[in-house]
Amino acid sequence: MGRKTSAFNVVSVALGLAFLYLPIVILVIYSFNGSRLVTVWGGWSLTWYRALLSDRAMIDAAWASLRIAALSASAATVLGTCAAIALTRMGRFRGRLLFSGMVYAPLVMPEVITGLSVLLLFVALDVDRGFWTISIAHTTLTLCFVTVIVQSRLISFDRSLEEAAMDLGCPPLKTFLTITLPLIAPAIAAGWMLAFSLSLDDLVIASFTTGPGATTLPIRIYSEVRLGVKPEINAVCTIMIAIVALGTVASSLLAKRGAMRRERAALSAQM
């Protein structure tokens, strides 16, 4: 019954993983490099992390990036989930095709174009560019990813669950909150995580929509790297990787804990 692990499978998995993770592993290892030269191994050390702590500009940029990512991911999750519900639940309303096309367009739109068009909008509206404009632009960018993830979950969602809840006396809105939402929550969380990561790592759109006093981490890193790769950059990137990884693990753990809590609540009814 057990699946055979042929040499071919092992090799292809190893190659795939290496392709994905080797550059990252090298970056992480070099962030602990004691040497000032990026290409020379000088023993393990935390020098560059310590240097980072006193790099005010870098810390500010990281903080700005995190705030923008959290804000835009949250906004994109709310709007993207609403769009997904409208697309799956409202049937064939007039302009549905146009609406779905418009929601999905940023998915394939070159970022340069998205960035430029958003910039033109902000210029036309004469708003000061900075934290808020980047957040709005990132919401535009990430919304469609949330919609895709949530919509695919909603399509496979068994509508009879909602009907059963209503049949048992649960009004429609409460049905959505107590039945639909908990069941699609993992998809929504996954959408948020993806939006957060996309925002955190975006350089193109942020460059177009940024203004004085709002430098995100990728912008900062990019401008520093142009003057030569400093080991400090490796340290920053390692921290970013750690945050994204932690976020992913945390969201899956949260989803699991939520399920357990719901179960315990149901148990108390029985006792």
């Binding site: 009907e163 059963a164 209503m166 006396g169 429609p172 179960e263 149901a266 009814a269 029985q270």
Partner: protein, 368 residues
Amino acid sequence: MADAATQGQTAGDTPLLRFEGIGKRFGPVVAVEAFTLDIGQGEFFALLGPSGCGKTTLLRMLAGFETPSEGRILLDGDDIVAVPPHRRPVNMMFQSYALFPHLSVAGNIAFGLRQEKAGKAEIAERVTEMLALVRMPDFGRRRVDQLSGGQRQRVALARALIKRPRVLLLDEPMAALDKKLRAETQFELMELQRKLGTTFVIVTHDQDEAMIVADRIAVMEHGRLAQVAAPSEIYERPNSRWVADFIGEVTLIEGMLADGAIETGLGRFRAAIPSGGKKRDTAWLALRPEKLRIDAQRPTGGELNAVAGTVFEIGYRGDMSIYKVRLADRSLMKVALANTSARGQASFGIDDLVWLSWPPEAGWVLTR
């Protein structure tokens, strides 16, 4: 269609439930048409018909998930068409069971009461009571995905019954169970219905199931009501060839009405003629396989109808064998013979010459 005759035994003065000229279209598809039916308090009622005939649509209109294109649905005399599903005093057991995967068994069963803002103690008590009722007292803490198909079915039943609905709707409740479990569940369901006295409306495409569980059956054909009556009435006195053929095995012989008989290509057979029937009208004699005798010689007996043929095929079923006998006009007639060798019944082989006979009251004449 909707007169007392098609309705079978009428159900009390004010019916609990009344469909009045219900029609439902999905775009060009007519799912239900001119459907009128009364269901009485405490009945175990079955909607029976081939798949796609509109049974589920009818049930969903009763639960409030579909709005009729025309007609009224009365519950205790009040039109409920405009009442949303969550305010209707009927509960439904879904074909897929639709158990909430994020709730435990107890959480699922308690769901309906929670919506009524019932007290914690009352909920706990009623959940325990329902678990006992479906004979799963120790399963409250289980997760839904840890249950077998039969157990899920019981949980779905308990969840639908906890609010003590005026009518319990069951959509193909046993379709997902294996044959043995289905038979057990059918009897449990009947016992439960007797104990609670709740009106059950079950939807099924399985005629055996409908005959076993239901007090009355409505047979549906293409969204229309074909016949409503007690199971024995539908089996013994179907009102059309379609119903006769849909319910159980039957041989239909075409002929013309005559005086106390029907003239067919195989001869003149004595039978009771339907009251409205005129002489020379086209009619069909319906014969159930188990009502026929099979003998090697022409049986004697003045009233008996008899016809000769040769055995064409024998289907052995364990408890009985179905003989297909080829008659003079090359048509086949089905005869069931119980395999009770103790009774000394003769058995026959392929190509044996046999006589089939039946008393006049064993045949049933249909005019459509």
